[in-house]
Amino acid sequence: MTTINITLQVWRQDGPDASGAFDTIPVADVNDEMSFLEMLDLVNEQLINEGKEAIVFDHDCREGICGTCSLMINGQAHGPQTGTATCQLHMRTFDDGDTIVVEPWRATAFPIIKDLMVDRGTFDRIVEAGGFITAETGGAPDANLTPIPKPVADAAMDAAACIGCGACVAACPNGAAQLFTAAKVAHLNLLPQGQAERYKRVEAMVDTMEEYFGSCTNHAECQEACPKSISIDFIALMNKDYLKSKFKNRRLLSRG
């Protein structure tokens, strides 16, 4: 264990319509065993002691699974460690004397609520449009009725591991949500249970996504930033199904 001294430059913004600015906060004696968010807890405790308002940031499970935490740390979504959400990033990644810039997710589709907290409701809209298998409670057949080859189940699980944090969007120069959407599409479209709604699903989800988010130009920054290391291969799968949907969903062809 060692302690380090750092300087934070934190984005403070009082509300959705307020103008924001960076606040420079020196933080002394940071134990390098701390997680990044525990360091922010410490800073907040310090601010409250000084009679100032604590920095608002989203966080909850602190185990890297709930997807609530966010933060651009030195310009990188979830900070410098690959495959790691901010809550699991530790201060041992930083050096004594470092200046650390902390910003909210930067994307038009994620408006700032306050300080480092953003509204990711647009992700929910995408799922509401089709990110499900219609299987109302009660009518399910025995679970072993449909064997699913292990590689298929594994691939679906790889995609389903998405925690919906929004790092992919924040890291994308276009603010595109292809990786998030593709992960959900692939999870469900790979499974036999998902076939009935396969093309309807992909079309509805992609079309909803495009209402809010930018377009994908294959920078692959999303994959690098993803705390669950979800592969952009799923985007290819989604694009393929989306294209097919335009032929399969004949009922909708005349929309142009």
């Binding site: 699991q88 509204d119 509401e128």
Partner: protein, 639 residues
């Protein structure tokens, strides 16, 4: 005195649920849209109930204090979900799951509820699979199972180490579909701050918009609380940061009995506490005990690294003390055994506050690949937090508060003592007795949400056809709104010197020291004098910076901490009156010579249901006597 009619249906245990479903009153599908139901919480129990009720045709309003229903803490469950599918043909059955659960709960749960849970367990797996939950599979494509503590059969279904996440996403997807269809009105970033009772029935809720500070009311024909457990009363627990007891505590203050608050589960395999700045504890799934072996050095002064300690100088204490269950002894037993080792100086690590969970033998038997396949993400998480590689050195683990078996008292229909107010999932007390078995929380949450509540609620709603919910401009709603708004205003105006977190930390330490893994009369009495003193200080010396008109997380925290102050006293009071040891409640005065829990069935085979009297320390005790007609009360042995 409260009326604690459990409403357990007549008949043989295997027929009770079927009989109930036939006898209950029904609401015609075309009439269901004339009813409004409020569901608070969107985890497994709440989300599943909201989605299913909406599918059935009821008008549902769902509330979550998260930004999205998908964040609920059910998501963090790792290991798996039990179901009596008997896919392994190793002797499992509904009866065995029922028996294991009652025994695992140290004979302090209601038989009929547990039996129903075991019956519904099989439907859960079918339902989730149909939704696309990617459970682990064998190469032939059929579902795989693993073993969990307290069972000698393999009945746990899992999705890598992320079972809770996958089940919750299943629920979230089903709920999202209903939101998209307009059948569920979803309110996010809204926290329940009180419930409203009119003419003895629950009329609705008062919520605070976390983005604007605005307090508002919602009314419905029935209200469901599915707001999780209260482990954060300990400050440090494996619960997420925002988990709190406010919803159930405020309901308690309005007349809902609180049952068995002292039944708290300390999970045996968590990463040991490190520094005072630590904000929460991290669980390492119980599934690790399938392949990991728990040990400490025999010599308390051992200084060698674990790989240098020869076999004969290691004490595999669980295998030694409980040969038939070994490393898969139930949680309460494994936790206490770890405490015994650490207290006697055998602890490992720099602070000597942990025990080893060693995969060396499993890795040499199965190879790194198999272990990585089974536990890869857990090993990674451990490495990230501790900076140690568990493929090379054994993990260090220690028990931590994880789950609360206690909660709002509910009858067989999951209704609290306030008519029209239901409680599901971890928030109620119903199925786990004094100790919950691993992989049973997910089972209970989904059973309550998908299959139980949607069947029982019609019994309450049917006779209310044609009635309208109490309007929210009713004086009762106005009064509660004012009370809530004043409360939050008060926090910002105290102007003291200490943050809500500082108080929470100190409160948690008292609760952990005296009402944690081991309790004594003396310690509990001490806690009952220290907590009110600290609470008084809280009221005078709290400092909340910022205002009440936009996001203020310090203010949110203040409200939650205040409710923990009162709940913590009830936990201690309950632990003090229960002069026996059972499950997670271990009173040092009541143990066998070998240090095992000593139950007192003659005097304590009851549910302690507490009634609010206006003073946390003067709560009134009501008893629901537990009758065991199917399971023989026995000393719980895992030897």
């Amino acid at each position: 005195m409260l009326n604690l009619d459990s409403k357990v249906p007549e008949g043989p245990i295997a027929d009770k649920w079927t009989n109930y479903k036939f006898d209950r009153k029904l609401v015609n599908p075309a009439n269901r849209r004339r009813y409004e139901v409020i569901v608070v919480g969107t985890g497994l129990a709440g989300g599943a109930a909201a989605a299913t009720l909406a599918e059935q045709g009821y008008k549902v309003k769902a509330f979550t204090f998260h930004d999205s229903p998908r964040r609920a803490h059910s998501i963090a469950a790792q290991g798996g979900i039990n179901a009596a599918k008997n896919y392994k043909d190793d002797g499992d059955s509904v009866w065995r799951l029922f028996y294991d659960t009652v025994k695992g709960g140290d004979f302090r749960s209601r038989e009929a509820n547990v039996y129903r849970l075991a019956q519904e367990s099989v439907n859960i797996i079918d339902q989730c699979t149909a939704q696309g939950v990617p459970f682990a599979r064998e190469y032939g494509g059929l579902l795989d199972n693993r073993s969990f503590g307290g069972a000698q059969v393999s009945r746990t279904f899992y999705a890598r180490g992320q079972t809770g996440q996958q089940l919750l996403l299943g629920v979230y997807q089903q709920l999202s579909r209903e939101v998209g269809l307009g059948n569920v009105e979803l309110y996010n970033r809204m926290e329940l701050v009180d419930i409203v009772v009119v003419d003895g029935e629950c009329a609705g809720i008062v919520v605070r918009d976390l983005q604007t500070g605005e307090v508002s009311s919602h009314s419905a024909h029935a209200t469901v609380l599915a707001t999780g457990g209260y482990s954060n009363a300990f400050f440090l627990s494996t619960n997420a940061m925002a988990c709190n007891a406010t919803a159930i505590w405020r309901a308690h203050r309005r007349g809902a009995a609180f049952a068995n608050p002292c039944y708290t589960q300390i999970h045996p395999t968590c990463i040991p506490q490190s520094e005072p700045f630590q904000s929460k504890l991290t669980l390492m799934s119980e599934s690790l005990r399938n392949d990991g072996r728990i040990w400490v050095p025999k010599n308390p002064d051992e200084t060698r690294s674990p790989d240098q300690i020869p076999e004969d100088e290691r004490d595999y204490y669980l295998e030694r003390r409980y040969p038939s269950f070994g490393n898969l002894a139930p949680r309460d037993i494994a936790s206490r055994a770890a405490k015994v080792e650490v207290d006697s100086g055998h602890g490992v690590g720099e602070k000597k506050n942990g025990v080893y969970l060693d995969f060396g033998e499993a890795i040499s038997r199965l190879g790194v690949d198999v272990i990585e396949e089974r536990y890869g993400n857990l090993f990674e998480m451990y490495d990230r937090i501790t900076d140690e590689n568990p493929y090379k050195v054994p993990m260090r683990i220690y028990p931590a508060p994880h789950y609360t078996m206690g909660g709002l008292w509910v009858d067989y229909e999951l209704m609290t003592t306030i008519p029209g107010l239901y409680c599901t999932g971890e928030a109620n007390f119903s199925d786990h007795g004094a100790n919950r078995l691993g992989a049973s929380a997910l089972m209970q949450g989904l059973s309550d949400g998908y299959f139980v509540l949607p069947n029982t609620i019609s019994n309450f709603l049917a006779p209310r056809l044609g009635t309208t919910p109490v309007p929210t401009d009713h004086e009762a709603f106005r009064a509660v709104e004012r009370e809530a708004a004043d409360r939050f205003k008060r926090y910002t105006s105290i102007g003291g010197t200490r943050s809500p977190d500082a108080f929470h930390m100190e409160l948690g330490r008292i609760v952990w020291d005296y009402c944690g893994m081991e309790r004594t009369k003396q310690g509990l009495e001490k806690a009952l004098s220290e907590i009110p003193a600290l609470y008084e200080e809280f009221k005078k010396d709290l400092r909340v910076t910022g205002g009440d008109t936009n996001v203020n997380q310090t203010l949110e925290k203040a409200g939650r901490v205040e409710d923990f102050f009162e709940l913590a006293q009830l936990m201690c009071l309950d632990a003090l009156q229960r002069n026996e040891s059972c499950g997670g409640h271990f009173r040092a005065e009541h143990q066998t010579e070998e240090g095992e829990a000593e139950r007192d069935d003659e005097n304590y085979a009851y549910v302690a249901a507490w009634e609010w009297t206006g003073d946390a320390q003067q709560a009134e005790l009501n008893k629901e006597v537990l009758e065991f007609e199917n399971v023989h009360l026995a000393v719980r042995s895992y030897k």
